[in-house]
Amino acid sequence: MRTWMFCENPYPEAWDKSSVSLRNSLPSRYCDPKKAADILHRHLDEWAMADEWGLDICVNEHHSTATCLTADCTLPLYALARETKTARLMSLGIHIANRPDPIRVAEQIAMIDVLSRGRFEMGLVKASPYEIYPANAQPVGQMRRFLEAYDLICKALANQDGPFSWEGEFFHFRDVNIWPRPYQQPYPPTWFVSLSPTGGAWTAERGAKVATFLSGRVSKILFDNYRKRAIEVGKPHGPEQFGYLAIVACAEKEEEAKRRAWEICGYLRTSPIVAKQWVNPPGYMPVEDNAKALRASQKPGYVPAYATILRHDGSRIPQATASIDEMIDNYVVFAGTPDQVFNQIKEYNDYVGGLGNLIMMGQGGELTHAETVDSYSLFAKHVQPRLKDLQADPYVERRKDRAAA
């Protein structure tokens, strides 16, 4: 199992400036550039320790928000390509359906891959619904545009034979001939993201790896669908194809680890603070699903499925208000002493039938640099070595006591 260090580069000082929307509309006067500079440097410093820790690096992207200062994931990855020598570098991901220029994306990918001498992994995503607005991307036909962009990017990266033209439904180019070409051939490994159980099939068909976020038990359904489809079409289906992002916090003492996890969970408490008009762009969901969601939203206390945690007994609770223990029990958070964290991850590995990539949100909210470094150091020293060659065993019914074996 590889472990990837992940962080949203949040700006928590602005989180109390709006209860309606922290995304898209929060004025940037609430962003002090001097503090933003400190934040960007701090997280680059943490990521740059990946080599020493034997971990890998994962960077995401969001726009116009106090929850994430990384408005372009390729920029930190390029900086880290130079600062590290062995860590792999994953984007998760580049908003290829929203970016107007897939060839520009292909060039960025090639540059990172070349500078890192073949350590890039290209996570290419449709992006969250509210990202439509800052990008002004047409929400109707997004999935078709995503697939065309992906096709074009792969061809542009693999091409060595001089210019080709592309006259697609969404993109038109006359002189596709990128320099440099990527280090890894024909192009870096691809990652897609899926949050719905049915998302496994189309990712498997393309032989791409699939990552899910904070979905706990739902990941198993998605991974099972992926494996089934991959076997049907003769594509890879081992643990290395799967990634799972969880909140992870280590400490010498369990109580401190849970406190750190709670701090990182500031992400869960603030990420959904989005004004109503941007939560569900027109045409983003198939109309039938949209109509069903409108109907479901009439029920009192309704929380959309993606914002809930699926429990052992099949019931669901809202993510934003779940306790740390509930989140640990349901695999959204891995937190505790190194031994406890190892046991939790091992159990999850067994539960999903083999997880090759753990993406670790090891910082969030007001968790300090010192606390973050301490958590990662403990993980790197005491947990990662035991995860490296971990195999999936048959899943054992969970034990209440998660103390060290």
């Binding site: 607005y133 036909g141 027109p282 949209n290 939203s297």
Partner: protein, 265 residues
Amino acid sequence: MNTQADLPVSSRQSISNIELEIVDRGVGKPILFLHGSDGVSPTAPLFDALAESAQLIAPFHPGFGHSALPDDVKTVDDIAYLYLDLLAARGLVDVTVVGASFGGWIAMEMAIRSTQRIGRIALVDTVGLRFGRGLDIDIADVNMLSPGEWAERTYFDPIHASPDLAAMTDDALLVLSRNRLALAQFTWSPYMHNPRLGRWLHRIDVPTLVLWGAQDGIVAPDYGRKLAAAIRGARFELIDRCGHYPDIEQPQVLARRIHEFVAAA
């Protein structure tokens, strides 16, 4: 009196390989009513009032209501040609085209192409042009407004703004979702207008009436005045106690103005 009470409220018809839901009511001179950005109810009071003394033809634009939205129907140009085909398919002449909001944009795109079958045009709180540039915004962007802001700008009387979703049928919720998707398809960017349209407005050579809700907060009355000034011989009139949708808030007044406009021909 609606003598067609026993017949279906609307029917499906194929025009140019696109299956459209169309309301056909009444007898008399033909009125083609082109609905606005938020769709229209097939049992709208305006339809009763118009069908009293005219042949009302009210299609649901591709993707709206139960009309199909083929993959290759993407722009307002497509809809304009579709409705010109509809008029030709039915052999209609001297048609009064009434376009509300987004429907008004369609009406203008039809008219600059051909007024052969069109007798006159009524544009009701229409969109489709921009008079400003850059930061100077003519048309409020409904995609950026909160539900409360949208309601305030769209309606004079906010009672119209919040449909009771719980009371709506599954089909009505599906139509609501379809309408949102279709509107995004046709109006996303450049937002709610055709930068080329103003160049060709001089081709509208039939009597044009521009009607405007006095309290329209989506497109202000001044926009309507500029539009009327840009179309040869066009007349501008306000409808009071009314926002962006006179067809919803003042259907009797709107119907009367349209009947008077038709009668004056």
